[in-house]
C-alpha cells in the first residue's frame, strides 16, 4: 500500500510500483496527443475532457461485498481528465461502483469506477467519477 502524499514523494511511489501495463501501439500513438477531446454526438458528459498522459498510483479502497477482488496498489497511466472524472490505462479489469484512491502528481483523489473497456490482454481503459479531490501542497 503506498504511503500518503505527506510522507512520501510522488516519484518514490512511482518507483515502488513499476508499470506492468501492455499498451497497444495505436493507444501509444494516441497518448502523444494533447488538448481538449472532441465529444461525440451521444456523449452525455457535462464537462469537457482533456488528453493528459501521466503516471499515477491506484490504490484499492472499497469493493462490493459480492466482488471483493482486492488488488495491490498499481502504477497506471492517466489518459484524460475533466472536472468530474478521469480515465486511466490499467493492467486489470475493474468493475462499476468499486472505489479507489488515486495518487496523481498534483493531487490525490478518491473515485468510483463507472466503466471499463478492454484494449488488450493487459490493458484496460477504466473511467472514474471523482468523489473527493485534494491538491498536493
Amino acid at each position: 500500500m503506498p504511503r500518503s502524499s505527506d510522507d512520501s514523494s510522488f516519484d518514490q511511489l512511482i518507483q515502488e510500483h513499476p508499470l506492468t501495463l501492455a499498451i497497444p501501439p495505436q493507444i501509444q500513438l494516441e497518448l502523444r496527443e494533447r488538448g481538449p477531446m472532441s465529444s461525440r454526438n451521444d456523449d452525455i458528459r457535462v464537462t469537457p475532457r482533456f488528453r493528459c498522459k501521466g503516471p499515477a498510483i491506484l490504490e484499492w479502497v472499497e469493493s462490493l461485498s459480492a466482488m471483493p477482488r482486492p488488488f495491490p496498489a498499481s502504477q497506471v497511466v492517466v489518459r484524460n481528465l475533466s472536472r468530474t472524472g478521469f480515465s486511466v490505462l490499467m493492467d486489470r479489469e475493474l468493475f462499476p461502483e468499486q472505489m479507489v484512491r488515486v495518487y496523481l502528481s498534483i493531487a490525490t483523489a478518491t473515485a468510483m469506477v463507472v466503466r471499463a473497456r478492454r484494449l488488450g490482454s493487459r490493458c484496460y481503459d477504466i473511467g472514474f467519477r471523482i468523489k473527493t479531490y485534494q491538491s498536493r501542497q
Partner: protein, 322 residues
C-alpha cells in the same frame, strides 16, 4: 390478440379435478368471439382437459379483474402438482412456466430490484424442486412458453433456457439456481429508472436515441442496480454485466475475450440469443427452432460458446420422456 378485459393464460395450466376460481373463456373461431368455457366454481373436468390437450392452439383467457384468483390457484397448488405422478410432464412444465410469469410479474410490479430478486429466487427454487421429480424437456418447454418478447416473458424464457444449459453441463443444484436467478435478472438495466423509484410519469420512452442508449448501457446499469443488494452473488452480477460480451472481443460493455468471460455469462448469452430469435418482435417474426440454431451455429466461436449452443440444441431437440 387478447380481447379487452381478458388475460391470456396457457390452456395446459387448467389441471383436471381442480377449480381455477375464476371464469375461463375460450376463443370461438366461428363466432369470432370469446365464449365462457368454465365458470369460477366449476372444476376442470377430464373431458374439458382432453379438449384443451387435443387443441393446443386453443386460446384461453381469464377475466383481467380476477387474474389474482388465477395466480392464487397456481401459487397454492404448485408444490402439490409438481410431486403428483399422475400429472403429465408437459402440464407440470406449463404450470411452472405460467407460475414463473405470474411470480416475476408480481416482483416486477413491486417496482424494486429487491422484489424482482425475491420473486426470481422463489421461482428458481421451484424449478429445482420440479427437476427432482422429472426432467424438464426442451420441446415441452418450447411449446408452453410465451414468445411475445415482453420484459417479463424474455426474463423467464432466458432463465428457462439457461436452466437447460446449466443442467446439460452438469452444474450443481445450487449453481443452477444461481444461474437461473441471474438469467432472470439479466436485463434489469433496461427498466426505465422512474419505474423503480416511483417517478415514472408514463411518458413515451421509445425514441430511437433512448432505446439505443439503453441497449448500450443496460449491462452496466443492471450491474450497478444489483451490486449492493444483500445476497446477490458474483455470478449473478457477471451474468447481467457480461451477457453481451462476445468470444472474439467485439461485444460490450468491456470487450472481453473468450477466457475472460464467466461461463455463466456464456450460458446467458446463448439463452438470451435463442429467446430473442424465437420470439415475435415488432419488426421481425419469430424463427423456428431449427432456423434459430442455424443462426446461432453461424455465430459460434465468434460471439457464442459452441459447448453452450450444443447443450441447448440437445435439450431442445430431445423428445419428451415424461
Amino acid at each position: 390478440m387478447t380481447p379487452s378485459g381478458l388475460v391470456a393464460i396457457h390452456p395446459l395450466t387448467l389441471v383436471p379435478n381442480y377449480c381455477a376460481g375464476t371464469n375461463i373463456y375460450i376463443w370461438n373461431e366461428k363466432a369470432d368471439a370469446t365464449v365462457k368455457f368454465l365458470s369460477s366454481e366449476q372444476m376442470v373436468t377430464e373431458s374439458a382437459f382432453s379438449f384443451l390437450l387435443t387443441n393446443p392452439s386453443q386460446k384461453v383467457f381469464v377475466d383481467e379483474s380476477s387474474y389474482s384468483s388465477y395466480q392464487a390457484y397456481l401459487f397454492d397448488n404448485l408444490e402439490a402438482w409438481l410431486v403428483e405422478p399422475r400429472i403429465p410432464g408437459i402440464l407440470k412444465t406449463a404450470v411452472i412456466a405460467e407460475y414463473f410469469y405470474s411470480q416475476f410479474t408480481v416482483g416486477f410490479n413491486g417496482k424494486s430490484i429487491r422484489s424482482m430478486l425475491d420473486s426470481s429466487s422463489e421461482c428458481c427454487k421451484h424449478l429445482e424442486q420440479l427437476s427432482q421429480h422429472m426432467q424438464v424437456n426442451g420441446r415441452d418447454l418450447q411449446r408452453v412458453l410465451r414468445h411475445d418478447a415482453s420484459f417479463v416473458t424474455h426474463a423467464v424464457n432466458t432463465a428457462m433456457y439457461a436452466y437447460l444449459i446449466a443442467e446439460g453441463i452438469s452444474y450443481s443444484s445450487e449453481m443452477i439456481i444461481e444461474v437461473c436467478v441471474g438469467a432472470m435478472m439479466h436485463d434489469v438495466g433496461k427498466i426505465e429508472p422512474g419505474l423503480l423509484d416511483g417517478t415514472f410519469s408514463g411518458g413515451s420512452t421509445n425514441s430511437t436515441e433512448w432505446m439505443h442508449r439503453v441497449a448500450q448501457s443496460h449491462p452496466i446499469e443492471g450491474f450497478r442496480r444489483m451490486c449492493r443488494e444483500p445476497g446477490i452473488t458474483e455470478t449473478q452480477l457477471l451474468i447481467a454485466y457480461q451477457h453481451h460480451e462476445k468470444l472474439d472481443g467485439k461485444g460490450f460493455p468491456v470487450g472481453l475475450t473468450s477466457t475472460e468471460i464467466h461461463d455463466a455469462s456464456k450460458i446467458c448469452s446463448v439463452a438470451n440469443r435463442y429467446d430473442g430469435l424465437t420470439s415475435e418482435h415488432a419488426n421481425r417474426h419469430a424463427m423456428t427452432r431449427m432456423a434459430a440454431f442455424r443462426v446461432m451455429n453461424s455465430e459460434k466461436n465468434t460471439a457464442l460458446d459452441s459447448e453452450m449452443i450444443q447443450c441447448l440444441e440437445a435439450a431442445m431437440t430431445q423428445a419428451s420422456t415424461n
